[in-house]
Amino acid sequence: MSIQPPSAFFDLSALLTGFTVQTLEFAQQSADFFGVFDEIYGSGHMAKLLSVYDAHVQAGDAPNDIGKAILDAGSPVEDTARALMAFWYLGQVAPLNDPENLQIPSGNHYAQALVWRAVQAHPTGVSTQQFGYWANPPAPLNDYL
């Protein structure tokens, strides 16, 4: 059974991806983005990233400043943040020390990847829509966030 991620994981992920915490929480219910990232990318890197994020929050930094600081932090914090963003968007992640070994850990990671919502669509082969939905325009982008 997967471990319930700390709220900071969702807060940071929302900051990095532009999606709401609730959307990310829904995705986490089907696919363990938190635990599996740690397992594949390398243990301890997520904890380090979250500690950096938490330090900025404690310092009272604005969200945009926190995001910029993290993405400019250099290795390994910056790399971890970018890998996490890619994991959320594409459902794929590689070990830090083996970047060519990209993996999509499960069908649920594929289906829950944010890229589908970013383009207001659904993954090939997995749709939550009812028959005939293609006759209507998708909901506004904001509804997908």
Partner: protein
């Protein structure tokens, strides 16, 4: 706290789960369905309650929208529904007599609404016609007496293929049988709106079954799906809710009276708060072990620790479809080795333990204490404009006797009640049929 006129209650204590008791509220009653809605519970001491009063909907009260994944209120709704639907029509507390006739057994079978050209479904409450194959059974007169004597269910049970899969074969080589029944609000909606013909479906607008509403106190559409096993060698009938019924084999056009034990039970309830319906599923506790967790020497309805000693190893692979051809009349078919892939949530199991204890307090030999809630799937965000499934939780849910072969968490093939029924359509133009597949089987043209 108030109960409907014929409500009964029995209370036990379980502090771990009853703190959310106030989340389920219902009012009024629906006499036509012989179901009574419930005016409580309002406080922690009011459950588990063994009442025939049926819950109408789940309300979230002062707490507002529940935390994502918080299923306690829905599990309580499921257990209250289970107790209400399985209560005796005479108002006796569930299980007081050990086993009992159930309220839902008097509902209409799905095939009663699926008429042929020129026919109209009979009015609600019309007894089912015994099929010709059963009338021809040798000693059929005796069979009728047996049905009348047990009065558990006057049923004709024939279906054996699971949804999008094949048959479940028990350890005696017998096929598990299924039946689908619907309550009066759902039956009358189909009948009154002419949805039993393709022309009627085409002429009708959006299909929108009545929803249980706390505003009106009215119970909405309810479907139940029951899975029965033929009780035979190695089965203890005193552990099951039993029914003597005609078992029909359509392929061979045969019919036989059998003693059946209830092994699986779905309840699907449409409510105002859950337009994607609330999906509750129960099983007999002896059905199957969790994957790799079989008790040494334990008896299971659909798992045999010594499977490989009596049939080919290849047929003992857990949850594998049996070899074709599928025909209940074929002799010597191998049983399906069933394991539960996804363990039952601990909080759900705790609530089940509480209700089981309440049932045993009424009667230590209550068969109903041998059933457990597997889970409840419900929409977390029913009006999500991006997801007509309403963000169901849990994402997957399977009953080992009804979705045996679809267990797991692989999209989109693993069992998800809402995801599957969201695809249900009616008519040649595939009009969404409001989460029921019954209307997809309408064959009458006009």
């Amino acid at each position: 706290m108030k109960f409907a006129e014929t409500g009964r209650k029995c209370q036990t204590q379980n502090t771990s789960v009853k703190r959310r008791a106030g989340l389920v509220v219902a009012t009024a009653f629906v006499a036509a369905a012989a179901l009574y809605a419930w005016a409580g519970p309002k406080d922690a001491a009011d459950w588990p309650v063994l009442t025939a009063a049926h819950p109408v909907d789940v309300a979230h009260g002062a707490a507002g929208t529940p935390v994502l994944g918080d299923h306690a209120a829905y599990d309580l709704f499921s257990w209250m529904s289970f107790v209400a639907l399985n209560s005796s029509p005479d108002g006796t507390v569930l299980g007081k007599t050990g086993d009992n006739e159930t309220l839902w057994s008097s509902w209409m079978e799905d095939f009663q609404v699926l008429v042929t050209d020129g026919q109209t479904p009979p009015p609600w409450g019309t007894p089912m016609q015994v099929p010709a194959a059963c009338k021809a059974v040798s000693g059929a007169q005796d069979v009728s007496r047996v049905i009348s004597h047990t009065a558990k269910m006057h049923g004709v049970v024939g279906l054996f293929d699971q949804a999008q899969a094949g048959p479940l074969i028990d350890r005696n080589g017998a096929y598990v049988r299924y039946e689908i029944l619907i309550n009066a609000p759902m039956y009358d909606y189909i009948r009154d709106n002419g949805l039993y013909t393709q022309a009627g479906l085409n002429a009708f607008g959006q299909i929108d079954f009545p929803a249980g509403s706390l505003d009106t106190g009215q119970i909405g559409a309810i479907m139940v799906k029951a899975a029965w096993k033929v009780l035979g060698v190695g089965d203890d009938p005193t552990r099951f809710h039993v029914s003597r019924a005609y078992v029909v084999d359509e392929q061979a056009n045969t019919c036989a009276p059998e003693l059946l034990g209830l092994v699986g039970f779905h309840i699907s309830t449409k409510t105002k708060s859950a337009p994607q319906w609330i999906w509750s599923t129960f099983e007999h506790v002896d059905n199957a072990p969790d994957k790799g967790e079989a008790r040494p020497g334990g008896h299971y309805n659909f798992y045999d620790a010594d499977c490989a000693s009596r049939q080919p190893t290849s047929s003992c692979v857990p949850n594998a479809l049996p070899e074709t051809p599928w025909n209940p009349q074929n002799p010597g078919q191998y049983s399906v080795q069933v394991e539960r892939v996804t363990p039952i949530d601990p909080q759900t199991a705790a609530m089940t333990a509480s209700f089981q204890q309440a049932l045993r307090d009424v009667n230590p030999n209550s068969v109903w204490a041998n059933y457990m809630l597997v889970g409840t799937q419900y929409p977390q965000r029913p009006t999500d404009p991006t997801d007509p499934q309403g963000r169901p939780f849990p994402p997957y849910l399977a009953n080992t006797t009804i979705e045996t072969f679809l267990q797991g968490d692989t999209p989109p093939v693993s069992s998800s009640c809402i995801a599957c029924h969201n695809r249900a359509t009616a008519t040649a133009s595939a009009k969404p049929s409001d989460f029921t597949y019954i209307l997809s089987r309408v064959t009458a043209k006009d």
